[in-house]
């Protein structure tokens, strides 16, 4: 093949371009109808309808303009209580306090219901309330622990079956030694199953800070578990 020594657009090139455009267009015109004829419209439509169903406004926000405080709290209580207790338990490190924290959060939410428009906001509010209350429990505990000897770590929650078993695991032990913010970020991410944005909201910090807390916590955990 001859090398014309350059790739610029000579007059010959542009004549060829015109022909090649025509060629491509005609190739497309002959091929397209054949492919179109072999199209499985039903399958395509089913897939699209499925997507539409998931993404239409009605699906995204259940329309409940008259959602009353009582109903909402009952529904959230049924669906979210356990998960929130688990979340709080990871933060305050004992189940009984965790239950109190979560119940307080529900009461506060019920009182402030008029400010919450939908379930999604209510859940975000609950999570934040749980985080805040857990924090103040921990602060309070620091004051008390200054004056009283620490109880053996496994004792108080040993009655609580699965939770206690869970708490004795090596991961939990390592988790306990993390700085508070790092533990919070990690717990919200992996036990609370919150997104980065939700964690940022619940902890009132930036997404960048969530990232760095989580990353540092993971590194510390990994190091701690490798030491064992």
């Amino acid at each position: 093949m001859r090398d014309r020594g350059g790739t610029g657009s000579s007059r010959e090139d542009s004549r060829e371009d015109e022909l090649l455009s025509g060629l491509y267009q005609q190739v497309a015109e002959t091929q397209e109808p054949q492919f179109a004829a072999g199209y499985d419209l039903q399958a395509g439509l089913d897939r699209y309808r499925g997507w539409l169903g998931e993404h239409s406004e009605a699906a995204a926000r259940p329309g409940r303009p008259e959602w009353s405080a009582d109903l909402a709290v009952i529904e959230l209580y049924t669906t979210q209580y356990k998960a929130l207790v688990r979340l709080a338990a990871m933060l305050v490190r004992d189940t009984q306090t965790a239950e109190e924290v979560v119940q307080d959060a529900f009461i506060a939410m019920h009182d402030g219901w008029h400010r919450l428009k939908d379930a999604e906001k209510a859940l975000a509010y609950l999570r934040q309330a749980v985080v805040n209350r857990s924090r103040s429990v921990l602060r309070h505990r620091v004051v008390i622990e200054k004056n009283a000897p620490k109880p053996p770590p496994d004792m108080p929650s040993a009655e609580h079956g699965a939770m206690a078993l869970f708490e004795r695991s090596a991961v939990i032990a390592a988790l306990r030694d993390l700085p508070e913010r790092q533990r919070e970020a990690l717990v919200l991410r992996y036990y609370g199953d919150l997104s980065e944005a939700q964690i940022a909201g619940a902890m009132r910090i930036s997404r960048g800070a969530v990232k760095s807390h989580t990353a540092r916590a993971m590194a510390a955990l990994r190091a701690a578990l490798e030491d064992d």
Binding site: R2, S21, F35, A36, R49, W51, E57
Partner: protein, 189 residues
């Protein structure tokens, strides 16, 4: 793109729109994807997802304009599937404006069905990058600078690839085509 909500009523309209346009759009997508039906199906789906998000704007368009929007959007989705870096969306609006008008038939020259069939085979066998460049240039009518931008390549790379694709196509089409035979009877050094 405006409001990207849509209601169940909109969903019905969108489904009707899908039935009306999807088969031919699929044909178009298959050619861009060189016969890869699964990729073409994904392109069609992605195009109609984009249509749903832009439906408040699109629903008012005349049939021809709507069709133009669907085809153009699919072209860009196909183009962006070739691209490696992820800054395409920002440029979409600008490029889109350029293709609103349906391209005029660039050639009055008719090719024989043998040449067209042979060309389709050559296209299918091109390396991925070369195909991308050739497709954007000759099928989607973009300039070299735009192609470089979309594919995240140096402009010289685009030129080189285009040059190769051009030579390959013309050399392999055989004798039965109207390209200038500037170098008849095969290669000389």
């Amino acid at each position: 793109m405006g409001d990207d909500r849509f209601t169940p009523d909109d969903a019905d309209e969108l489904a009707r729109c899908f039935v009306a346009h999807a088969p031919r759009l699929f044909g178009h997508a298959c050619v861009l994807a060189r016969g890869d039906r699964a990729q073409a199906e994904d392109l069609v789906q992605a195009t109609f997802e984009a249509a749903a998000r832009a439906w408040q704007t699109l629903r008012g368009l005349a049939e021809g304009q709507l069709r133009g929007w669907l085809w153009t959007t699919l072209d860009h989705l196909a183009a962006s599937s070739f691209r490696r870096e992820a800054a395409f969306r920002d440029r979409l609006a600008r490029i889109e404006a350029r293709y609103r008008k349906t391209p005029a038939d660039p050639s009055e020259q008719a090719f024989s069905s043998i040449v067209l069939e042979r060309c389709w085979r050559i296209i299918q066998e091109m390396p991925e990058r070369q195909h991308a460049v050739a497709l954007l240039r000759w099928r989607l009518d973009m300039k070299e600078a735009e192609i470089a931008e979309i594919l995240g390549m140096a402009e010289t790379t685009v030129s080189t690839q285009l040059h190769r694709a051009r030579r390959k196509l013309i050399a392999q089409l055989g004798p039965d085509h109207p390209f200038p035979h500037d170098d008849p009877q095969g290669p000389s050094s």
